[in-house]
């Protein structure tokens, strides 16, 4: 499915994911995990859009127009024992490696020291069995959840 890179459409992605994952027989808890992980990847696609320099030089309006045209593609790869979701944005990539390094849970001596940066990627890694980010011309996040057979 393809949606505009706008937060207003993210619930549609979760709805589609719910439909496919429940058809495959995933548990309620696994589906909740995937909804958050996929949501985080889409959040990044919406928030970390970086206009290329040519567009940026032109004007703020040109940047806005480029952002308005930005699309997020969500692909579902259904296998008998796993679901792989690929989230791709059509905008320029971001520095995935630096971003990956920042990922972690909240840490701080007390509440005043808490920083929430990197939480989204940390959640993706914690909630899925596999997460990979490819960043070049565009950014693609590929995440997989394994479907365990009934005992």
């Amino acid at each position: 499915m393809q949606i505009p890179a706008d937060a207003q459409y993210l619930d549609i992605v979760r709805l589609g994911l719910y439909g496919i994952a429940s058809k495959m027989g995933f548990s309620y808890e696994d589906i909740e995990d995937m909804k958050v992980a996929v949501g985080e990847a889409c959040n990044n696609a919406v928030l970390h859009y970086m206009p290329d320099q040519a567009v940026e030089r032109e004007s703020a309006d040109a940047v806005q127009a480029a952002q308005d045209e930005l699309q997020i593609t969500v692909e579902f790869e259904v296998l008998p024992d796993s679901l792989t979701i690929k989230i791709t944005n059509s905008g320029a990539g971001f520095e995935a490696d630096a971003y990956m390094e920042k990922a972690g849970p909240l840490e701080g001596e007390d509440a005043s020291g808490l920083e929430v940066g990197g939480l989204g990627l940390y959640l993706m890694q914690a909630l899925m069995d596999e997460v990979n980010i490819h960043s070049a011309e565009s950014t693609q996040v590929v995440m997989t959840k394994r479907l365990l057979p009934l005992q």
Binding site: L106, A111, V116
Partner: protein
């Protein structure tokens, strides 16, 4: 599952300001909650309560909002309670490490 729109309302009692949230708190809903909380986060005369009983979804955006309220209230030495946390939400609070900073109040 159907689209479960985010909702937030404020009630005030003699001792507490209660913010009830329901539905899906995602990137699209975050600005609404953020601006609602801004109106009460500095009220040190009463305990601030976030009632999450009907919250169906939260992501790092929503967790970031809760963290910012924890920090703001901590700075003012004002009480902040998050109550009725659903199991699926609690799990995310545990994974992200925010649980250790949340005051769930006394279970009544």
């Amino acid at each position: 599952m159907t689209l479960n729109k985010f909702q937030a309302v404020i009630h005030e009692t003699d001792s507490a300001i209660i913010v009830q949230v329901g539905g899906e708190l995602d990137l699209a809903a975050a600005p609404e909650l953020r601006s609602l909380l801004e109106t009460v986060v500095n009220r040190t005369d009463k305990t601030l309560v976030l009632d999450t009983e009907r919250l169906a979804y939260i992501d790092s955006t929503g967790i970031g909002i809760v963290v910012s309220v924890i920090k703001a209230r901590d700075e003012k030495k004002a009480e902040f309670i998050v109550k009725n946390i659903p199991r699926s939400i609690k799990r995310l609070f545990d994974i992200t490490g925010i649980s250790g900073y949340i005051n769930e109040g006394t279970v009544s």
